[in-house]
């Protein structure tokens, strides 16, 4: 009988022929064996991919530039230079003023006008009249020397308040009192300490008498108001505080994500771990890294379906998500951890009766290499917000997709038009917004919203170019390891 079985199957099947699905040849013809057919009209590739790539790069850059020009102003307060911080913002370029009087003037401040017009003198006198605390005492004798040239430098107003009367009445005094020096800062110019002359350094008197008086501070504020000047620049982190930095971080934790795709829409959790490195300059940064996420899917469909007549349904869906990794030292978002990439399977469901396997578990492990760039647009410690965009490379490392156990005699037939092969290597576009709140120097809470789309269809052997659009909302608690 055994030989009869063998013989019957051999005779019945050896010369049995059946037409294969036409897509098999399409897959073979698309392989590297066949050179591109130049006779066939090449399908024009949509420029959408490049547009998307340009968008994810240019969008953060343009937002950052906008932020930069709207908010960045030079710090006009040199730390070691006592002065009266006045900005003349509506000052014409042709009427620039420079200091010419470096010599100690005994008891009077001279306002000299050299190759200037009357409005310039008026402006300078206005400035002087607003600066000096005791105008009634000095005004009759003050002289400010100003010179108009192309350079825009601080105007130095020298005065000797301690002994104005004495000094003025002793012009022959060989050792005049060191002058008090006041600088009027012209808009847009970084203040610089004028080099002190060797012969006058020892005679410079302390200047804090001006600065420490409440009257003096009020006058300065009033000056700004009178001159229509902008307030001093914010004393937030200077952009040059940490111009070039490198950072590496490890992150592991759970995440929730939502996946919108042709086949599924659900929220689930997963675990991941990644090592991320970032190199940055100011608020710009470029991050890259590698991570592994393992995801176990408990297929609920077999618990909900009572009985269906469609058998062998094999849809695969791939999604990707990134979570931010932050540098807790107030600088930038340092990278984006690939959190969850998974492919899930709806297993075949038999038509005869329900499968005995109600809780089918599948596990996939992917390698992810994110290459992201971006910048922070809001930096208000402990809160910060950043935009980022870039590409990510995915590769399937391990797939453990168990075959369900079917009762004896169950006939399983796959639906052919769903029998597509999933790609094991993918490139994704990715862009999104990241927010972070530093709990302390090490721990932080993060939240992210990202959208992504694969460059190619996630399947091969099919004409359908399925590029699932993915939307992700994630949250994390992280610790920084540096």
């Amino acid at each position: 009988m055994e030989e009869q079985i063998d013989k019957r199957f051999r005779e019945g099947l050896t010369h049995h022929r059946k037409d294969p699905p036409p897509r098999i040849w399409e897959g073979i013809a698309g392989s590297a064996l066949f050179p591109p057919d130049t006779n066939k009209p090449q399908r024009k590739r949509k420029p959408l991919g490049w547009i998307t790539l340009a968008g994810v790069i240019l969008l953060p850059a343009s937002v950052w530039l906008l932020w930069f020009f709207m908010n960045h102003q030079p710090d006009t307060t040199p730390q070691n230079t006592p002065k009266h911080d006045i900005r003349v913002t509506n000052y014409a370029p042709s009427t620039q003023i420079s200091t010419v009087n470096k010599q100690p003037v005994t008891s009077e401040i001279q306002v000299a006008e050299k190759q200037t017009t009357k409005p310039q003198t008026t402006i300078v006198n206005d400035i002087v009249s607003n600066i000096l605390p005791d105008q009634s005492a000095l005004k009759p004798k003050q002289t400010v020397t100003a010179k108009a040239d192309d350079a825009m430098v601080p105007v130095s107003i020298q005065a000797n308040q301690d002994k104005p009367e004495t000094a003025s009445r002793n012009p022959e005094n060989k050792e005049p009192e060191a002058p008090q020096e006041t600088e009027i800062l012209i808009a847009g110019k970084e203040p610089e300490m004028p080099p002190a002359k060797p012969d006058t350094v020892q005679n410079i008197t302390p200047k804090k008498e001006y600065r420490d008086t409440a009257n003096r501070q009020d006058t300065s504020a009033q000056n700004r108001a009178n001159l229509g000047a902008a307030p001093p620049s914010r004393t937030k982190l200077p952009l040059s505080a940490k111009p070039l930095h490198f950072f590496a971080a490890l992150l592991a934790g759970p995440v929730l994500y939502e996946d919108h795709s042709p086949y599924t829409e659900r929220i689930r959790s997963a675990g991941e771990g990644a090592l991320i490195g970032k190199i940055g300059y100011n608020r710009f940064f470029l991050s890259a890294g590698a991570g592994i996420s393992s995801f176990t899917d408990r297929n609920p469909s077999r618990l909900t379906l009572e009985r269906i007549d469609t058998v062998g349904l094999y849809p695969y869906v791939t999604s990707v998500l990134f979570q931010p990794v932050f540098d807790s030292t107030h600088t930038t978002v340092i990278g984006y951890t690939p959190v969850n990439i998974t492919t899930k399977t709806h297993v075949a469901v038999d038509t005869a009766r329900l499968s005995e396997d109600k809780t089918l578990n599948t596990r996939y492990t992917w390698l992810q290499v994110p290459i992201m760039a971006g910048c922070e647009i809001i930096q208000n410690p402990p809160f910060s917000l950043a935009l980022q965009g870039g590409m990510v490379y995915l590769r399937l490392l391990d797939e453990d997709r168990k075959i369900p156990v079917y009762p004896e005699g169950t006939r399983i037939t796959a639906i052919e038009n769903l029998a597509w092969q999933r790609r094991e290597q993918l490139w994704y576009f990715q862009a999104g917004v990241q927010a972070r709140y530093d709990l302390n120097n090490q721990w932080y809470a993060g939240m992210s919203v990202n959208v992504g789309q694969p460059v190619q269809s996630i399947y091969k052997n099919t004409e359908n170019r399925i590029k699932p659009f993915t939307f992700h909302l994630g949250g994390s608690i992280g610790i920084r390891l540096q």
Binding site: K18, I24, L33, G409, R411, Q421
Partner: protein
């Protein structure tokens, strides 16, 4: 239609037109081979594609000794074996052979002789992967247990036991088909009544 020699020459020279003709000529036969060795259509497509690509790449090694169909079939069988090694394992659980003795072989002979090729294909698909692989190689392709053991990387004993269990399961299924038929007839009669 070009001759077989022209098709082979065209494939060696990578002529796209002749390669497509080659595919159309041999695909129906090789498709059945792929279906026999695999569990479902999706996997069969993988094996089919891999087999043809492999055949196009190595067709220059065909020396002309023996039939070309035999050489091509061997390429596809190798492709199926590679797929089996990559994704499947032999069944570890023992098949309950007591399932079989209740079925009288003599009673099955009639059913077996009347089975169509499609029904036999469906029966093969119900076998566990290891059983199906060994049964195909031994019963249909005609390889010995020694050759099968070398190809699959197992022992001859494993090959023998897998074949025995495959036959047992097939006989059991054939027997159940024979027993089911009278029951269905009874139902039909009852419904008509």
């Amino acid at each position: 239609m070009p001759s077989q020699a022209d098709l082979i020459r065209g494939c060696i020279e990578r002529d796209p037109h002749l390669m497509e003709q080659f595919y159309k000529h041999f695909a129906p036969e090789m498709w059945v081979v792929c279906l026999r060795y695999t569990r479902n259509v999706m996997t069969a497509e993988d094996v089919m594609q891999e087999g043809f690509i492999r055949a196009f790449e190595t067709i220059g090694t065909f020396t002309g000794a023996g039939s070309f169909q035999g050489w091509l079939r061997r390429v596809f069988v190798t492709s199926a074996i590679n797929h089996f090694k990559k994704y499947y394992r032999f069944e570890k659980q023992e098949t309950d052979l007591s399932y079989v003795p209740g079925i009288k072989y003599a009673e099955n002979a009639d059913v077996l002789s009347k089975m169509s090729a499609d029904e036999m294909m469906d029966l093969l698909k119900t076998l566990p992967d290891g059983y199906r692989m060994v049964f195909n190689l031994y019963a249909i392709e005609g390889y010995s247990h020694k050759e099968i053991a070398e190809m699959l990387g197992c022992t001859e004993g494993t090959s023998r036991s897998q074949l025995l269990r495959a036959r047992a399961q097939l006989m059991g299924k054939i027997g159940s088909m024979e027993h089911q038929a009278p029951v269905e007839k009874e139902k039909v009669v009852q419904n008509q009544g």
